[in-house]
Symmetry: D2
């Protein structure tokens, strides 16, 4: 019998958007691999198709460092299901880890699983990377012309070559030289024999948090990875910053920090607040839960629930799409209820968390069946009601349409769909895996909300405006602190130099 | 590497209670196996350790029936991960299926996976069973003395022997004779060469619904299994009823129905409303969602949220334990908010649905780590607030204690735990797998709510009273329609004749 | 990726004949399960598709016996690959084991894997069976009419029912009663809580040896299973004998023995000497190696190697088909060389023991490719020579034909095929899995040796005559000591009462 | 349950010697991957722990080449058990393959599985390598100092870097430049987008054959890989030769050929004739079967079977150790029988080809049990006889000692062990994986044959002399055509520059 191939990306998300990665690093802890395991577990939602850990183990007898690695396709819990891997193989006091959204299947793609581990003149080197570089084409060609061979099609290998090729003698300077050459979005942990580096691009596109666990230092894409191991969140790795942890720094408790490239204006990915990050995390130094509820609130202000004319009308039912819009729906409802005390927040959709393969009968639609195995309606809640569904975004529109269809079967009076983000009109080249522009429903309908709503089968459709979205998020500097390219086509970092191989990676 | 052993019972539930089974049956449909697959998928929460399907295939050439079977340990999606099993192996127009909470591991226990398929003088016979018989000791000894050999330790095999041994000539009468001899709780589907039977014990302890899908008839433990295949819910199989579907009955659209034993007073398992059944199902001919919200409402009436004295106090935060107390919390909150407009329903706990193996570091508590991999708090919601947690039940108290500990780390002002059921003081012998009486925390503390609360670390603890619970559920006849033995030690069906083997089954 | 399904039957044999089973039993040894594992390993050639072990473990605390079981599809080494199964699960001082040729795949067939373990009024009972009953139809119907249900289609379950139904009070008498009702070929080990039984049908069709290992007693289909554990061969279980080992007998060193049914004339399966048994075993109280070489010798006497006229002719090359005809070829060659000193025994065929799936290119013959992955010729040995191939039997002729084709490519002058058995013309109903009569090449050509040879593409073909075969085997009583039905259609045990289910078992 | 980890190296060999690899290449065949699969299957004995195939697929639409790859730990039949891999993934008209003896287990070592596939300025490049370089230390350091990073510890990656770094513009010249820098033993197939290269070191240490299949060209380590696909053996790739196959060459039927480095004297690995290569192959342009039998013959001349004084003595029994000494034993016996007509070649050892995990009982020797699961004696053949065992070599002596012990249990009169090679006294650095010098039994006893024989427990022990070995092998040029370092410590190719990493590789 064929072994089941869980499509884990489907397990907890119902969108055709995929984050690229979660990264984690820890220095100076005898349980480095176990803590990394838990950290990756908490970051599972950022990448569900592969996971890996590299540890640096000091071999006292030979006064040398040994790098241990284990990585594979699958969820974190599956890749590390054998506890002997954590305790017997992944020995050592420092570790980095990675969860990845990636392509599965062919033995080849296995090479792309992170962390990467290589050997160069400076010893061992391992890297975990979240984000996407945008001048890869130029860099790859340049390196190939110099006689460099590539074993993968990843940005990460490219960075490693740049480090190995640096003429600088100090490791820190090698890294600074390498990172001064790359353009794009990156939040990176690098482990060497006796140091741990955390680096973030000058725009701060992807998050990277810095924490402390007793005498150990930790880094993670989101702070929920700190909570699970009882680590304390200190601050973010700043955009353009490189933090270096070594034995000496641990003694003093201070940390060395460097600046990469010219410090640019911040360009945080606003989608982290809308959808990616877990509500219990802090990203960009703000609690996601708080921002996401403010987004919900602003959505309610812009497009309140319908009809308050008749007593019957007033009993509008607001429902969430579990679990992705739970928090935004709370924000939405708490605002609505201020003026309509009869409105109710209800559970109108039940979600099954057991989702696997979908078998279709002849003449049946596969995606329809998939939605049905994931969601069921609570008819008593919806029937004959004015129903407001809050969802976080519409990408292709396929799932939304099927979800609306499902809800319509419960015979609500009206269905009003409120989206807690503006229309998605353009792909992301900084680390999210969106469909191409043509596939985006907002493009197919020229952002005509009415038409899209008609297509989806709802009574009304409303998106959050860009303005209100920008009002919902916190600012360090100014309104331009965020990348909103997927809503505006306004790409803040040049995408001219994108490697074809790099573009294609998402196609498989 | 050792393959991961998902402990699926943990995936979506956080209690040490396990239902025994979900059953499903369909007659006269060319896609019988695929529809059963989907039905079982919807019943996954009723039994997550094994699954199976048997189909009856008519062999035109030989004018004979062939029974096909596939069953194994694992989730439904894993057992049937190879689509060729459904389409090439499980051919035929009728099918029954089963999901089971059972013991894993040893090759022996494999025998206990359902459906059971046997061959007897009347041809092929397969059975799916939810519930537990209570006169097994007597029946087993009687049969063994007659020279019957047993290949399993299950009630189900016992029933099959009784059927095979019946001297009646008509199959229907054989079944009636067999079921007149057994005592206990059972909801059963039986497939024979050309008939499908659905049988329910005279007390109606476990649910069993009857539906229709075009020209096919279907049976399922809960109606959510009808929704997923677009079947229409007709009514319940009545307590003590045996419905027979055959070719003739399908033609006429009518169905033959028999009465098993003396019709007794109803004794529905009240825990189905509290915890087991999905909120989107109807059981005992009432919507679970509706009953569960009424339970929440009554809990609020009995033990409202604390302090409304100061404006600050008023901002009580009500949180659910996802996903099991979602619905009851809604009912609770909607009542509370009537008198305290400042109370808020918030998401205070984030639940990870990726839960697997837990590795412990020396000196760490395994269960603690397990709770941490499952739940994280949203600190901004809880910090410095009076927090009301609504949960459905407390069994051993272990998980509750750890959950409270986790919440306390978020530094709420107070933590009030509201339980939407009375104290659990006695095991169930009718199909739920509770711990023994000694392990139940309510027994350990003589039901002293204050002491239990202190043990759990909450500011206050309140259970729903038995009276209010009884007010929350619907009645066909009278207040005694329900079995409440786990709250009252009042066992409505004799448990004297329980087989030791049967008792032990839960121990492995 | 689909997991590989080794077809182990192919690994070491190249014939379309399959033995039905190997059985093993041991009493009173703390390493019972490990010794059974090794015993089954040595019997692997008798059944390569499934294996199992049952142990009886004494629970001192409760003064009760517990039966442990582990069985699965696959080779012995694969089924018991986890050493924890042998040491932690299969505890106890007594054990029986089984290797089985059976059908794979469907979850259903799993039920047919032995040993069988059941519970009856006398306690636990487990059975390992080699052979085939021939009055199953009658017995099955009789039992079904008495209300017995069947969970498998095996003879073994039938025997177990007969034991459970016996009205005798003593266990020994129950068994005697049961075995007095069955007709056919059987060599059986039965384990009860505190006894081990070894039973052989009155004809002694299949072998069963009795041995001793220090204070333990052992039984096995072939004595090679004794050698691997350093046990000492005592004698065979006699045809019609039932040996009982219990605690008392061990103390005294004596053994209790019973006679089943009327002692019949012996009807040993002569094919055990020709092909099934390992040459290093003793079966029917004679060394297989010795008999098989005598068979080879007689074949040489009847049909010597060709041409001794020219010096060139004399250099006839005799080759074996590894490994099945190795021993017979030796016997053949040692006879030939007496009169032709120039004849040579050579290695003309190299056999690969790595054989798995065969992929075919369009237009290619699958079986041809299979033979090519198994065999290659040593051209230098065959080219331009008169080649004599000694093989043990021809069944369908398919493999022989392809093998000859392969050899012809090495351009020998002539190819003479010598078969160390008479033409196979009739199926076996006593435990061998032959093709149907129609598929047997000897039938398709009316036993016309010349035509068959032409079909196979050889210069000449010769079978061993029945007379010479009978001269090669040892006799206790007289020439009729052997069953030769597959060569003669003369079935010594009635096959009238064969159950259809039983017949079909080989079809899957 | 833990999945079984077949130790396939044990399956067919009983020595602690392992060859490093089998390589295969094919150009211009629509079934390239399937033919490579069969070719690798035939080369399975050269490396049983991992296998892989790379194909070059022409994408007509984009006029580009795509490289497909699949490789994994395991036997060929297991790695490619899913036929979809061969037909759907590994598309393309050219392919190279590899079977590898390598270290298993850790996820890291996976990187070392061949073929290697990389991308460089010239496009795609894949490499299969048999042999071992000896100036790796220097080359690795040089490359690292130039900024090259290494992802594996293999020679093969080193070669690929040298090719990528070459300043030559023509691919052929890049390769020539790269191979002019490496020293050691190598037989290599390289696949580029549209060319196939076969290269052999100037000493011709490891074999590499060149063949033709209709319009396709093929390369393989041994000619048995040609036989299985019906390809025709043309000649060897000559020592120091690089053959290039491209579209043009196919048209003309000619092939381009280059010379690498200075043509040196030949240094064929003599162990290929003694043990490694299959007897049905041609290596170094001579049939292995022929050479190996001559070796056996010379062994007989040097050390004939004992005692011909009494008639009883004369009945000396010569036995082989299946399957590794089958051919040499024939050569030995055919010589012996010339002067002692009463000597007999017998099957004294039966070998089980099912070998897996060995479980030991307390106080038992694991290796002893392993030998017992592999071999059993045929007592009737050995008892009371003078037995001559012919074996190919003694390395550590552990297995030989246990084998002798087993044979002694059959109570032969005398045991004479004849080894068809000289004492092994030194490790191989050219691609065989021998134990270290200290572990070699011939060193432990200063090559004192008598002492070694005593240690092994035989009546007498004899090795083949170096002189007679050299007489047995064919010569192109002169007696120094062979590397005999393992018998003489005379290393013909400098081993000064061996990388530590490279040395260590065999230790894991």
């Amino acid at each position: 019998m064929k072994k089941i191939k869980l499509k884990p990306a489907e397990l907890n998300r119902h969108k055709s958007i995929h984050s690229n990665c979660g990264v984690f690093g820890i220095y100076n802890n005898p349980d480095a691999s176990i803590l990394t395991y838990y950290g990756l577990h908490a970051l599972q939602h950022r990448g569900q198709e592969a996971a890996g850990i590299v540890t640096s183990e000091y071999d006292e007898k030979n006064d040398k460092y040994k790098f241990n690695i284990h990585k594979d396709h699958g969820l974190v819990l599956s890749v590390f299901s054998d506890d002997k891997i954590l305790t017997n193989v992944l020995k050592g006091n420092s570790a980095i880890g990675h969860t990845r959204y990636s392509t599965t299947g062919s033995g080849d793609k296995r090479n792309n699983i992170q962390p990467f581990k290589v050997n160069f003149k400076g010893g061992n080197l391992a890297l975990s990377h979240n984000g996407n570089l945008t001048n890869t084409k130029y860099l790859r060609e340049k390196l190939q012309n110099e006689g460099t061979l590539f074993q993968t099609s990843t940005d990460s290998e490219l960075i490693l070559h740049l480090i190995a090729k640096s003429k600088e003698s100090k490791l820190e300077d090698k890294l600074l030289e390498a990172f001064s050459q790359v353009i794009g979005a990156f939040s990176i942990c690098i482990l060497t024999d006796d140091k741990l580096f955390a680096i973030r691009d000058p725009y701060g596109v992807r998050p990277l948090a810095f924490g402390k666990l007793n005498d150990s230092f930790v880094f993670a894409s989101e702070t929920c990875a700190f909570d699970i191991i009882n680590a304390e969140y200190i601050r973010d790795v700043m955009p353009g910053e490189m933090i270096v942890i070594d034995r000496e720094s641990i003694k003093t408790g201070s940390e060395k920090s460097y600046i990469i490239g010219t410090a640019e204006k911040y360009k945080h990915c606003i989608f982290e607040y809308i959808y990616f990050s877990r509500p219990d995390s802090s990203v960009f130094e703000e609690k996601v839960d708080k921002v996401r509820r403010k987004i919900g609130k602003n959505l309610a202000i812009e497009s309140p629930a319908p009809g308050k004319d008749t007593p019957e009308d007033k009993k509008t039912v607001v429902i969430n799409v579990p679990d992705s819009s739970n928090t935004a729906t709370l924000g939405y409802f708490n605002e609505i209820v201020k003026t309509n005390k009869d409105a109710r927040h209800e559970i109108g959709l039940i979600r099954s968390h057991y989702v696997g393969r979908t078998f279709i009968q002849p003449g049946q639609d596969k995606r329809k069946m998939k939605v049905k195995t994931k969601f069921n309606t609570v008819k008593g809640v919806l029937e004959n009601r004015k129903v407001v569904i809050v969802d976080d975004s519409i990408v292709r529109g396929t799932t939304s349409k099927l979800l609306v269809e499902l809800i319509q079967k419960a015979e609500p009076k009206e269905v009003h769909l409120k989206i807690s983000s503006p229309p998605v009109i353009s792909p992301c080249y900084y680390g999210m895996d969106f469909p191409t522009a043509n596939e985006l429903i907002a493009n197919q309908n020229d952002q005509n909300t009415e038409e899209i709503g008609k297509h989806l089968g709802v009574t009304s459709l409303a998106y959050l405006s860009k303005e209100k979205l920008m009002e919902s998020v916190p600012y360090k500097h100014e309104k331009t602190d965020y990348c909103t390219a997927c809503f505006t086509k306004n790409y803040p970092i040049s995408i001219e130099g994108l490697d074809d191989m790099n573009k294609n990676e998402f196609d498989d």
